[in-house]
């Protein structure tokens, strides 16, 4: 009869292989993750991440918070990289007041009153948010980037009703009616260039201007 001998070599080999495997896996650490900087670069490489969804969801959120269907704003700013939308909203129940709503990824994060200057005339500065073609943002981004440098992206979007913008002259629109117009501005950026694309409230391109 053969004598039984404990096979220590097999278990030692398995233990060594397991230790080596664990070391190989745990050594690099953070496997499968993306650094925040690289993540933001990826967003920029895809155009900046600005779509209609972000401002529309923010407007819907504020409308729901106010309990109204439409409301007036003085400015609407969108920063897609962190999903932030800032709206200066004219209180529908106290039209002499302006409130700043900060909406992040569809949730109202902050509401605070806005100090008005003596020369502020809200009737001339505000506009109904429903009159802005927010559903055309994707097309606006595409046409803006097509007119910009190849590796550009949209860093932010601002909607105002502003007459004192010198870019109006570059657009060739000197009819004098611009004081009443809504202007959608897209801030464009690339590693080597910056610029602004301006659209009407309907989403029609006015001009793309390099900074």
């Amino acid at each position: 009869m053969r004598t039984w001998v404990p096979r220590r070599g097999r278990w030692t080999g398995l233990a060594c292989a397991a230790a080596l495997g664990l070391g190989a896996v745990a050594g690099p650490g953070c496997i499968g993750t993306t650094d925040r900087r690289d993540f933001n670069r990826e967003i920029q490489a895809r155009g900046g991440g600005l779509t209609s969804e972000l401002p529309i969801s923010a407007v819907d959120t504020v409308a729901a918070a106010l309990g109204v269907i439409d409301f007036e704003v003085r400015t609407l700013s969108v920063t897609p990289v962190d999903g932030t939308v800032v709206l200066e909203v004219r209180d529908p129940f106290a039209p002499e007041n302006l409130d700043r709503y900060v909406v992040i990824r569809g949730s109202v994060w902050q509401v605070e009153p806005v100090q008005l200057a003596a020369g502020d005339v809200l009737d001339a500065q505000t506009f109904p948010v429903a009159s802005v073609a927010l559903d055309q943002v994707d097309a606006m981004v595409d046409s803006a980037l097509a007119e910009f440098v190849p590796d550009g992206h949209v860093a932010s979007m601002t909607v105002t009703r502003n007459a004192d913008d010198p870019l109006d002259n570059t657009a060739g629109d000197t009819s004098g009616d611009t004081t009443e117009e809504i202007v959608i501005s897209l801030a464009l950026a690339s590693p080597r260039a910056a610029g602004t694309a301006r659209f009407t409230g309907d989403g029609e391109l006015i001009a793309v201007v390099r900074a």
Partner: protein
């Protein structure tokens, strides 16, 4: 009946402990990218690409913290933040299933394994 109930609860507790520990060790330290496996459950259709984004910070000298968060991204760069809690819960459930399967396989193998041959000292002790 009552004893069986307590044993069942204890087994569930042990299973929960080991699956949480596995999630902490694997997804929290070794392979955070494992959370991307849960992306199909959370990502919207227009944002199919999953990323586990890590934020490194130094709250105190010599101390580094890592915060992980699962994001979904669309072809225009639009993102959806999922966070870390929901993927961790799903991963813990997945690890629990894996542990049960692993223990089941081990038990089945142990039952089907041939009995060891008698050792010389077994025969000696049998003879005395």
């Amino acid at each position: 009946m009552r004893r069986g109930k307590w044993i069942g609860l204890a087994l569930v507790g042990v299973l929960l402990f080991f699956s949480v520990m596995t999630t902490v060790a694997v997804a929290g330290a070794i392979w955070p990218g494992e959370a991307k496996l849960t992306a199909p459950l959370f990502c919207e259709d227009d944002k199919p690409d999953a990323f586990v984004v890590v934020d490194r910070s130094n709250p105190a000298p010599g101390e580094t913290t890592y915060d992980f968060s699962l994001y979904c991204m669309g072809r225009r760069g639009q993102t959806q933040e999922i966070g870390w809690l929901r993927p961790s819960v799903v991963l813990t459930a997945g690890h629990a299933v894996l542990i049960v399967a692993l223990v089941g396989v081990v038990v089945l193998l142990a039952r089907s394994w041939p009995r060891r041959r008698p050792r010389p000292w077994d025969q000696v002790s049998d003879g005395t």
